[in-house]
């Protein structure tokens, strides 16, 4: 038995492939949408992985440091480091801001890291080029998504930083590239206002006779310095000793130090559950719509292909072709269309994924479920055409 579906496809090869490419692009968009969703979740997880932390310590009653602003005094880490089970505790600050460079400015998550040597919590785990920061001022490691190159100079608030290292996939949960700078510089960047504001503040304090007492000339500079220094950080990252129980250590810190502590799972819940939940739902809805549209288009295409052959189908029925042969032909064509569409879609999605501004993650699992979904959709969509084909009366082939 020859393959009727195969012969028909071969006969109208160009049209079939063209249709397949069109469908493939639609499938590619759907796969990319799924990839965008996975990318968002991955962004959140990568942010947590890159901290290399087992526990996050933030201001009491906040969901910080990513979901909510959180401020802690910067000597909190000492108390934390002394808790049983804690191997390392390191300060960290986060501030999303515009970073100025020669080409304009870029939005980035400026992360201040305490330098406790290589492997410090908060330092980027893996570099693509260059080296980690070695000075405790004015050097930076940037993510490649920011567009910066080794040796570039960028301006963050008042200081300029030399890019000494590049990383990949170090992004905030909203996809902004991260730039790592030493903690002291980051604290200054987060707190220090513009020169105008500082000058006004100084004038205001100088006018106050309580602070500006000629009998006590040391008071005024001390007060100004107090006003203009920042001794806060956004969070403390904790690495635990090998045998320590995260839940136990977290509970100890919560009770005795009266701080808020989150472990990895809870942070993931906050990031994925709260921060990206709305965007995720949005994308999911879009995905569903795309899937429905794709199914409709496949149904329409197969129906049109079938209706174009309706006379031949009537003749086939007339001369004695069984229904199952005709149904098989239609389903085989639908599946062939689906396979071509999926291959084109997967290729397209892989090719254009790197050009998206946010990370698109195409997982193998998604590819396989996508294939199954496309093929099932094709089969289901062909039911319309099958219904039409089965309804046609062989008697209509005979005129009169």
């Amino acid at each position: 038995m020859i393959s009727l579906a195969g012969r028909d496809i071969l006969h109208a090869w160009g049209k079939f492939v063209f249709t397949g490419i069109g469908l493939g692009l639609l499938i590619g968009v759907t796969l990319t949408m799924a990839g965008v969703y996975r990318g968002m979740v991955d962004d959140a997880q990568v942010l947590l992985d890159n901290s290399a932390a087992d526990l996050w310590i933030v201001q009491k009653d906040t969901l910080g440091p990513y979901a909510e602003p959180s401020n802690l005094p910067d000597d909190t880490w000492r108390a934390v480091a002394n808790m049983p089970g804690v191997a390392n505790a390191a300060n960290v600050t986060y501030l999303t801001m515009q970073v100025v460079h020669d080409g304009g400015d870029t939005r980035a998550l400026v992360t201040g890291i305490a330098n406790t040597g290589p492997g410090s919590a908060g330092w980027p785990l893996r570099l693509l080029a260059g080296r980690q920061v070695s000075k405790n001022h004015y050097e930076a490691v940037a993510d490649i998504a920011s567009g910066f190159k080794l040796g570039d100079r960028v301006h963050i608030r008042r200081n300029s930083y030399l890019i000494v290292g590049l990383t990949q996939r170090m992004v905030s949960s909203s996809g902004d590239p991260m730039i790592f700078i030493p903690l002291l510089d980051a604290q200054q960047a987060q707190f220090l206002k513009s020169n105008d504001a500082i000058a006004q503040n100084r004038r205001r304090i100088q006018r106050n006779p309580v602070f500006n007492n000629p009998r006590n000339p040391e008071v005024l500079p001390a007060v100004l310095e107090l006003q203009e220094s920042n001794t806060q950080v956004n969070a403390v990252l904790v690495q635990l000793k090998a045998q320590a129980e995260p839940a136990q250590v977290a509970e100890d810190i919560r009770r005795w130090l009266r701080l808020q502590v989150y472990d990895r799972e809870q942070m993931e819940g906050i990031l994925v559950g709260k921060l990206i939940a709305t965007s995720a739902r949005q994308i999911l809805m879009f995905l569903v719509i795309l899937a429905v549209v794709s199914a409709a288009i496949v149904a329409f295409i197969i129906y049109t292909l079938t209706m174009g052959k309706i006379r031949e189908i009537a003749v086939l029925k007339l001369i004695g072709t069984h229904n199952k042969t005709i149904v098989a032909m239609i389903i085989q064509q639908a599946l062939a269309l689906g396979v071509i569409g999926f291959i084109v879609g997967k290729i397209a999605a892989t090719v254009w994924a790197p050009f998206f501004p946010k990370y698109v993650l195409l997982t193998t699992q998604d590819t396989i479920s996508g294939l199954i979904a496309v093929l099932s959709m094709c089969v289901l969509a062909s039911f319309v055409a099958i219904y039409a084909a089965l309804r046609v009366n062989p008697a209509d082939a005979v005129g009169g």
Binding site: M1, I2, L4, R7, D8, L10, H11, A12, R311, E312, V315, L316, K317, L318, I319, G320, T321, H322, N323, T325, P394, A395, A397, V398, G399, G400
Partner: protein
């Protein structure tokens, strides 16, 4: 009793019910012997298409009996469960238009039927080629139908109708689109085939070019048939 290619008695067909019922066929009797070529003539609306469709087991009659060879296939109800297999194996169709499958080659168009019946591809194609040779179109075996002339297509359609060696061939206006030379060629071929393969052939037609060639004719009007002796003009 002489074996009949096809025989129907008391065949009736009505569409609809009650006062609006249309009685297309009323108690039609007809029989065609193996090797015989008969014509079926009637004006439009006379029921000849309906009769052809009943003969071809395409539509179900309302009452009557139908024999195909020795087999009773209809006795007020179908006696056969798989009508498509019946049509495939026992009845050959030749239409006014060739209705070839456009995406199959000529050879495959003809070989399709035996393949559907379970014959191996190789043997089916071999048989098809033989038949095409008989019909003198073997040189067009690998061509697609769109590249053939009208006459060639019609011959291939005939080949398709014959390939399964059916005992009955039903031809519906096979010469309507052809000129007189080709029309007579087609009729001649049908006669040869009927003779060589002992096939009963019924030709529905109103083509004056070929009507004189029939030995026997059935006229149908308002669902009623009557027989007539034809002129049996020689066409060899």
């Amino acid at each position: 009793m002489q074996a009949y290619g096809i025989k129907i008695s008391g065949l009736s067909k009505s569409f609809g019910s009650g006062d609006t019922a249309v009685h297309a066929l009323k108690q039609v009797n007809m029989q065609v012997a193996p090797g015989e070529v008969v014509g079926l003539i009637g004006p439009s609306g006379s029921g000849k298409s309906t009769l052809l469709k009943c003969l071809g087991a395409i539509i179900e009659p309302s009452a009557g009996q139908m024999y195909l060879g020795e087999q009773l296939i209809y006795d007020n109800a179908w006696k056969i469960s798989d009508l498509r297999a019946l049509r495939r194996d026992k009845i050959g169709f030749v239409f006014q238009a060739p209705y070839l499958i456009p995406f199959l080659t000529t050879l495959d168009n003809v070989a399709l039927l035996p393949m559907l019946a379970g014959v191996s591809n190789k043997e089916a194609r071999q048989r098809a080629l033989e038949l095409l040779t008989v019909l003198q179109v073997e040189h067009r075996a690998q061509a697609l139908p769109s590249r053939l002339s009208g006459g060639e297509q019609q011959r291939i359609a005939i080949a398709r109708g014959l390939i399964n060696r059916p005992p009955v061939i039903l031809a519906d206006e096979p010469t309507a689109a052809l000129d007189s030379v080709r029309a007579l060629t087609v009729i001649r071929m049908l006669n040869e085939i009927a003779r060589d393969y002992q096939t009963a052939v019924i030709v529905v037609t109103h083509d004056d070019k070929i009507i004189p060639t029939f030995r026997r004719l059935y006229h149908i009007r308002d669902g009623i048939t009557y027989e007539e002796q034809g002129q049996a003009r020689d066409i060899s």
